[in-house]
Each structure stands twice: as C-alpha cells, then as structure tokens.
C-alpha cells in the first residue's frame, strides 16, 4: 500500500504532463528587421501561431503550399490555428528574402 502511494505521485505527474502536451499551445513567431525568427520551429496540429510584426513594414506569412497566407500590418500581430500536418516552407510575399520553415506534427 505504502509503495503504491509513493509511485502514484510521479505517475500522476507524467499523466498531467501528457495532458498538458495534448492541449494546444501558442507559439510566437516574430518578424523583425526583415528576419523571421525562429527560422525553424515545430508545432502540432491545433496549436496557435501568434505572428508578431515588429517592423514598420507590412509583411505576410505565406505558405508555399497554400496552407496559410497571413497579412501583417506594420507593428501588428495576428494569429492562426494550424489545421494540417506537414513541413511548410513559408515566406513574406512583399520581401521574398524573408523565409522560414514550420514543422507541423499530427
């Protein structure tokens, strides 16, 4: 009995951690000084991406495969929810040198 109780706490923690992971999280991707950072990041289907434009220029986050196309006014942010898994290369339509990759796991 005693040993059962001792084990239960770590097990509960593991379950709690899994439960947290199963919940969608919010990931921030920043555009500043014409650079997208992080340039590569992993997320899961259902997660929210918070796109933050710190520049005085308008930017877009445009998926090459057409999965998303977010327009960001200067100094504004926007969010989108990831619906499909896959490795998505995206860029800014106005400044095509701004490129990054988003890995969306199922």
């Amino acid at each position: 009995m005693r040993s059962g109780r001792l084990f239960s706490l770590p097990i509960a923690l593991v379950f709690a951690a899994m439960a947290v992971r199963a919940h969608a999280t919010t990931i921030e991707i920043t555009m500043e000084n014409l650079v997208i950072s992080p340039a590569e990041i992993s997320a899961k289907v259902g997660d929210t991406i918070n796109w933050i434009n710190k520049d005085v220029f308008a930017h877009t986050a445009t998926a090459k495969n057409g999965d998303f196309d977010v327009t960001l006014a200067p100094k504004k942010s926007a969010s989108s929810i990831l619906k499909k898994a896959g490795t998505i290369d995206y860029y800014c339509r106005y400044h095509p040198n701004m490129k990054a990759t988003l890995k969306v796991e199922p």
Binding site: N33, Y94, N97
Partner: protein, 177 residues
C-alpha cells in the same frame, strides 16, 4: 569638399556604377543633415516612380511591384521623418539631392512617353539600376559617413530592404523578357 563627393554620387547613380563612389570616399563626407536629405529624396523619387507605374503599368507583376515599392518606401520615409524630428535635425538640401531630383524628373518625363509593355520594361529596368545605385551609395558612402547611431541603423534597415527590392526588380525584369 562636398561638391566633389556629391558629383561622384550623382554620376554613379546615373551610370549605376558604384565603383565611382570609392575614389571620393576618403576625403568627402556628407553630414548627418545632408545624409538624411539624400536618403529621404531617394525615397520620394522611388515613390513618385511607383505612382506613375500604378497608373501606366500593364503587367500584373509590375503593378504589384510598384505597390510594394510604394508601401516600403513610404514606411522608410515615415521613419526618417520621425527620426529627424526626434533628433531635432533639419535635413539639409545639397548638390547630391538636387542632382538626384533633376535626374529623376527627367526619367519620369522619359517614361511618361512610353506605354504598355514598353513602359513596363523601361520602368523595371530603371528600378533595377536605381536600387543598385542607391544601395551602392548607402553601402560605401551614406552608412559609413553617418554619425548618429539611430540614423545609421535606419540606413542599414533601408539597405536591407532595398537590396530585397533590387532582387525583386531583377526577378520581374527577367520575367518580362
């Protein structure tokens, strides 16, 4: 000797040959108020060119390019105005700004005579040459000469965005062929 320096920049911008800039770089340095004026003037020139293109361009890509130029150059110039206000600097007109403006109005008049695909080609070709020249001047003259750190940083952001414009213009030019 600002005159010699500005003549060199103007010549370089006209010929799109940044090589010419280097000979004068050691001796003639523009001041911050002059740099601010040159940078702002260079922005206004491209804004006016873009406005003309919005009216005259035929190709969808050229129209979109002009829209991008308008958006970015207006944003940079807005920042430049906010900065000179903050620093309490009055941009100072100078021979380089004058030469640039004169050359730009000649170009506007020249492009105004063209229409359709001929306009598109000439506008984009000029955008390639113009951004190349401005980027050369920024890199070799304006940025190294700027004293104020915030002005320098704004010019550096400008250079980065204008290098993107140059590539974009080159890409559009290649597509038009």
């Amino acid at each position: 000797m600002l005159i010699r320096w500005s003549a060199a920049v103007a010549a370089a911008m006209m010929l799109s040959s940044p090589v010419l800039l280097q000979s004068a770089s050691a001796t003639d340095k523009p001041t911050d108020p002059q740099i601010a004026h040159i940078a702002y003037t260079a922005g206004v020139i491209d804004i006016n060119a873009a406005k003309q293109a919005q009216k005259k361009a035929k190709s969808k890509d050229v129209k979109a390019f002009a829209e991008d130029m308008l958006r970015d150059h207006e944003a940079v110039n807005k920042q430049a105005l906010a900065l000179v206000k903050k620093l309490n600097v009055t941009p100072e007109d100078n021979d380089t700004s004058k030469a640039l403006s004169k050359q730009a109005s000649d170009k506007l008049a020249e492009l105004d005579k063209l229409n359709g695909a001929a306009f598109d080609k000439a506008y984009v070709a000029n955008e390639v040459a113009y951004h190349k020249a401005v980027n050369g001047a920024l890199e070799t003259q304006l940025i190294p000469s700027a004293n104020n750190a915030e002005l320098k940083s704004l010019l550096q952001t400008g250079l980065k965005i204008f290098q993107g414009h140059q590539q974009h213009a080159e890409h559009v030019a290649a597509e038009l062929k």
